[in-house]
Symmetry: C2
Subunit: 224 residues, 2 copies
DNA sequence: CGATGTATGTAACCGTGGTCACAGAGGGTA
DNA sequence: TACCCTCTGTGACCACGGTTACATACATCG
C-alpha cells in the first residue's frame, strides 16, 4: 500500500515521539487507527460529549472554543498538525465529558487512535508519554495565561497582542477576531479604527496590515 | 521509626494510587521524598520559577493564583490534601517555568518527590500514571470553565455561585472573596448588599449566611 | 448591469464594574 | 477607658465595552 507507507512517513515527521517505536508496533498502530477527513467548519467534538479516541492531526488545525449562552465565542486554544487535542486526552484519561467545542478551522486530516492503543503507547513508550505530558503542560500554561488576560487586560491590549502574533499581514474579518477574543464585531472595528488612527495598522476589507509593530507592542505590554 | 510508618499510612489513605506499589518501592519512595511544613500564607512557588519536585499534599490546601500588574488577584484553583499541584507536574514534564503563584491557604504538610522518582513512578505504575493524568484532565476542565465564567458571566452571578459552593455559613472577608473572583472589595460589598436586600443572605462582620439558596441558585444560573 | 450577500463604519446609549475618598463599626490591646 | 487596626458601608465618578440600529462599501453571480 503506497498510501499507508506515506501515512507512516507523515506521522513520523510530525510526531518525533513515535520514531523510537519498533516498526512492528508502528505498523500495528497505523492498522488500528481510523483515518478521518474533516471539512472546514466541521464540528470535531461537542461540549458534553464523551470521546472516541486520541487524535493525531496530520493536516490542518482545529480550534477549541467555549460558547456563551448569548452565542458569543472565545478561543481557548488551537491544535495544529503535530499536536493532539488534549481535551480529548482529558476525556480519555479522566472519563469525563468534553467541556468545550472543537471545530476544524481548515480542512483537517487526522488519525484516531483507539483508547486501548493510546493507553498501551503511554505505558510502553517513554517518548510518547513525554509528548503527552508536554501537551498537557503547555495547555495548562496557556489556559492560565488566558485567564489572566481575560480577567485583567483591556480588550485593546489583547487585540494588539493578537495582531502581533499573526504576522504583518492578517487576512480575516473583524468578526473572526472578535470571536477569538470573546468580544463582538463592533468593538473590534472601533479598536481597529483607533489603531489605524494611531498609525499602527492600515485597514482594508478582510485585511489588516501591521505598520508599526513597536507601537502595537508598547500598547500590548502597557502596565506589566 | 514510628513517624515514618505513620507517614506511609497517611500517604496510602490519601493516595489510593500508591496502594498497589510493592512495599519495597513505597519505602524507597518515602525515603527519597523530602517532607516539608509550610505555615499559612507561605509562598509555595512563584511565577517564573523552575520547579523542584512533585509534591504530595498530606495536610492543608494550597491556592494557585494569578496576580495582575495592578496587584489584583484571581484564584485559578485549589490543591487540597490528596491532590498534587499539577502546575508543578507541568514544569516537571515540560521543563517550563511556573506560570502562576502557589500560596499555602492553611498550614500545609507535604512530601516532595524528586523528579527521578516521579518519572519512575509514572513509567512503572499504571495507577499512579492514571492518577496524574486525571489530575491534569481535571485542572484543564476547571480552567476552561473558569475562562468561560470570567469572559461571559457577570460578577454577581460568579459571586452567587461562589457563595453556594461554600456552604451555608461563610466566614471570610469581602476582600478574600474579591481576590477569589479577580475583583475588588468595594464591588463585592456592593453586590453582597444587594443580595442581602433581596433576602438571599444575611451579613455580619466576616460572616455571610446563605438564607435563600434557591434564590442565589436562580441568579447564578440566569441565562444558561 | 442590477441584485444579493457579506464585511465594515459609526453614532447614540447605557450597564457593569473599577477607582477614589471617606465615614463608621467592630474588636482587640494598652 | 482610649487607642488602633481591620473590616465594612457608601457615594460620586467614569472608562470600558456591549447593544441597537442603521448606513455604506465591496464582491460575486445571474
Amino acid at each position: 500500500m503506497e498510501k499507508r507507507a506515506d501515512q507512516q512517513q507523515a506521522l513520523l515527521l510530525l510526531y518525533p515521539a513515535l520514531r523510537t517505536l519498533p516498526a512492528s508496533q508502528l505498523a500495528a498502530l497505523c492498522q488500528a487507527a481510523t483515518p478521518l477527513q474533516l471539512p472546514t467548519s466541521r464540528e470535531v467534538f461537542a461540549e458534553g460529549q464523551t470521546c472516541k479516541g486520541f487524535p493525531l492531526i496530520l493536516h490542518g488545525t482545529i480550534k477549541v472554543v467555549k460558547i456563551s449562552a448569548g452565542g458569543r465565542e472565545i478561543l481557548l486554544y488551537r491544535v495544529p498538525a503535530g499536536d493532539s487535542c488534549v481535551i480529548t486526552s482529558s476525556c480519555l484519561l479522566a472519563g469525563s465529558p468534553y467541556s468545550a467545542r472543537g471545530i476544524a478551522e481548515t480542512p483537517v486530516s487526522l488519525l484516531l487512535l483507539p483508547i486501548a492503543v493510546f493507553e498501551e503507547l503511554v505505558a510502553t513508550s517513554r517518548p510518547f508519554r513525554d509528548f503527552v505530558f508536554r501537551l498537557f503542560a503547555e495547555r495548562i500554561a496557556e489556559l492560565m495565561q488566558l485567564v489572566e488576560e481575560v480577567a485583567f487586560h483591556r480588550l485593546d491590549q489583547r487585540l494588539a497582542k493578537l495582531l502581533l502574533a499573526r504576522g504583518d499581514a492578517i487576512y480575516c474579518t473583524h468578526q473572526a477576531l472578535a470571536e477569538e477574543l470573546g468580544s463582538v464585531r463592533e468593538i473590534v472595528s472601533r479598536l481597529l479604527k483607533n489603531f489605524a488612527a494611531a498609525g499602527f495598522v492600515s485597514l482594508a476589507r478582510e485585511q489588516i496590515v501591521v505598520v508599526d509593530r513597536a507601537g502595537l507592542r508598547q500598547l500590548a505590554d502597557a502596565g506589566r
